[in-house]
Point group: C2
Chain length 404, copies 2
């Protein structure tokens, strides 16, 4: 099992394209992406739990109700949320896509990301779809990954190669961050493709169990978006024996999926709005896995922890504070905290209390751009990891005038 | 019922003092405050729900278990939290205070605020207490209010005058913000004094019911502190008939208390770390009061709403987003949102969707320093208000190197 190039086109039978159609003013920012499977694909998705939902979510849920899909159309710039013509335009996007690539509109997954409350102008999208269809290719994954970006500073696409029954299989994906991200089912836009043969039911099983420890354990800013989904299409082109139950092949598929999603999560967290640092909180020794997860999320969500790490300040008291209000069952007199990075590791708290440590070494460790806050409890066997980023001047700058 | 001068000394029989003793390096920043009641006072408090607690919280709880107290000692600079000598030092602070003013150590309320995980040096405190006792006066309230400040930019002290049985009564208070503030019972340090005669049980009843709508509806940064308490002392010097049950006098007392705490909350929110603006979210028409409260808190806690308002950007989609993930029962297709300030009012969302509005007028309204986000729902009669502040560059600056 290894990482390979190709993003959403690493899986056989998938082509992609992305271009600037005019939803965004900047000519250099691509704003619409198309991914198409040559064959009908099993499809499953998880969606944001926000009660305010993009019309794309509503329409996609309906289209995936039969468990199959052929294409993903996604625009950036406008969220198609809280607008009276939202559903009509989402359906129109599906129709235009279906016409352009010659499929059924009900086989189209439709997503949008961007400003809430502004109507999506369908003219540039209608003009773009024939071009997108023309440009579909196995090399189009990079354009597609760029077209779904909003405030992301780097595109996020990865792919994993592995074997099932001696058949070469792939799972590839692209994701967009980078703000309005907080654990609550799917919490960003993530499109994953695979050439594995798997039933819709088992695909849904795989994605649901995976997001709990991956996309649901990433927080950038505590805001659960209105538009998020994690969507998988698997077209069976690899020719493996159909996965239709929880067997050894399913375990391999889940492991490959996790390798991909874990990588995407790290990149989403690292590229959080304004972030200079990835912050990973790893908790062990909690009463239950759920307690560990609550604590890990609480630490990576704390504005005070995030600003301290931005300042490379070993202010572990804020970590203790975030552990204390996490809502988890925890013996706070047994907490141990270490800060770790590629520059080393330093223990700063033992038995819930400060211990002498070298501030110079701590500074050196925290000046790196990937920091792990290691929390060791003495309450049980529960363990979990959450990912986030620091809170910086640029987060304020980016979000102080996002619409302008 | 009117506001008067005098802070914690407005109530008869209370004296206060504050000075720089050396816990903080800066000679100009007072760091220890003392408030003393001439007579034994009914006392009640609410405390942070954080599992990680300052030793001051533990000791104060014990000292108030009999319902009475005489004095409050509070230092700023060091939190006396997560340190092995925490409880010993908190007890020592009480003893030193008791000796200096000639009372029982068990009648002392002890609080600390500042950096977590650093031992409190008792030498400057021991040296300061006789001086503090000497300086106690009815004019010392301002020094005391200044001595408990941490990152606060203005001292917060107010007092209310009212009548019970024709007797002139007072409730006065001082508070410190301004970071690590989030709703969870008491969420800052607030010391309130009164000359009303009231039993400890009714005093506790009053403070518990009051904080739900006041101190528990303020959020600066989502971090529930380890050291928070809201503590009331009422010494009966006003000579009113003892309030020992829920009667008309109790209602007057509660109204006066609310007038004071509401004012303190506004000032705490407005002076949140790095804040340039007070943000009030007022929700009406929710299914229940609890739903309204969840929604109001969700809006004022949203980093995206906070940064948008810092940028005077009428990005109401983020308000809808925060309403949608609040966890409250709400019909999102009926939501109306208005932004209001002293410069006017503008409706930006109706029936959960955007409506045309003047961006210029919105900018003018949002450029003021007190903004109300008015959310009108069509689900019921539930109403609530929450208070917070914007998220700014200075929040990041203040917290990126708090310890240095």
């Amino acid at each position: 099992m290894k990482f390979v190039e190709g993003g959403v086109c690493a899986a056989k039978g998938f082509r992609a394209a992305g271009l600037h159609c005019g939803i965004r003013k900047s000519q250099t920012k691509k704003d619409i992406a198309l991914v198409v499977s040559d064959a009908k694909a099993s499809a499953a998705a998880v969606y944001t739990l926000n009660l305010v939902k993009s019309a794309g979510i509503t329409v996609t849920k309906r289209h995936l109700s039969d468990g199959y899909a052929r294409a993903v159309i996604c625009n950036s710039g406008i969220a198609n949320t809280c607008v009276s013509d939202g559903e009509a335009n989402a359906l129109k996007m599906c129709e235009l896509t279906a016409q352009a690539v010659g499929i059924d509109p009900a086989d189209v997954v439709c997503a949008s990301t961007g400003v809430i409350g502004v109507s999506l102008d369908m003219n540039p999208i209608a003009a773009a779809l024939p071009q997108l269809a023309d440009r579909l290719s196995e090399n189009g994954h990079t354009d597609a990954a760029e077209a779904i970006m909003t405030t992301d500073t780097v595109r996020k696409e990865f792919a994993v190669e592995f074997e099932l029954d001696g058949k070469l299989c792939h799972i590839g994906g692209m994701a967009k961050g980078s703000g309005m991200i907080h654990p609550n089912l799917g919490t960003m836009l993530v499109f994953i493709t695979s050439d594995v043969a798997i039933t819709p039911r088992m695909l849904e099983n795989a994605v649901r169990s995976d997001v709990a420890d991956t996309f649901n354990a990433v927080s950038i800013d505590g805001d659960t978006s209105t538009n998020d989904m994690v969507c998988l299409l698997a077209n069976g082109t690899a020719g493996n024996t159909l996965i239709d139950c929880e067997n050894a092949d399913f375990d391999v598929f889940k492991a490959a999926l996790h390798k991909l999603t874990d990588k995407l999560c790290t990149e989403i967290a690292k590229d959080g709005e304004g972030a200079t640092k990835l912050i990973v909180c790893s908790v062990t020794g909690a009463v239950t896995k759920q307690d560990a997860k609550m604590i890990a999320k609480s630490v990576v969500c704390s504005s005070l922890v995030k600003t301290a790490l931005f300042g490379a300040d070993a202010n572990w008291g804020r970590v203790l504070c975030a552990i204390g209000y996490a809502g988890a069952s925890v013996d706070v007199t047994k907490v141990q905290v270490e800060f770790t990075s590629s520059a080393g590791s330093i223990k700063v708290c033992e038995n819930g209390m400060g211990i002498p440590f070298s501030e110079d070494l701590a500074k050196t460790i925290l000046t790196e751009d990937e920091i792990t806050v290691r929390v060791t409890l003495a309450d049980g066997d529960g363990a979990a990891v959450a990912k986030g980023c620091d809170l910086t001047y640029d987060y304020v700058k980016i979000n102080g005038d996002y619409r302008t």
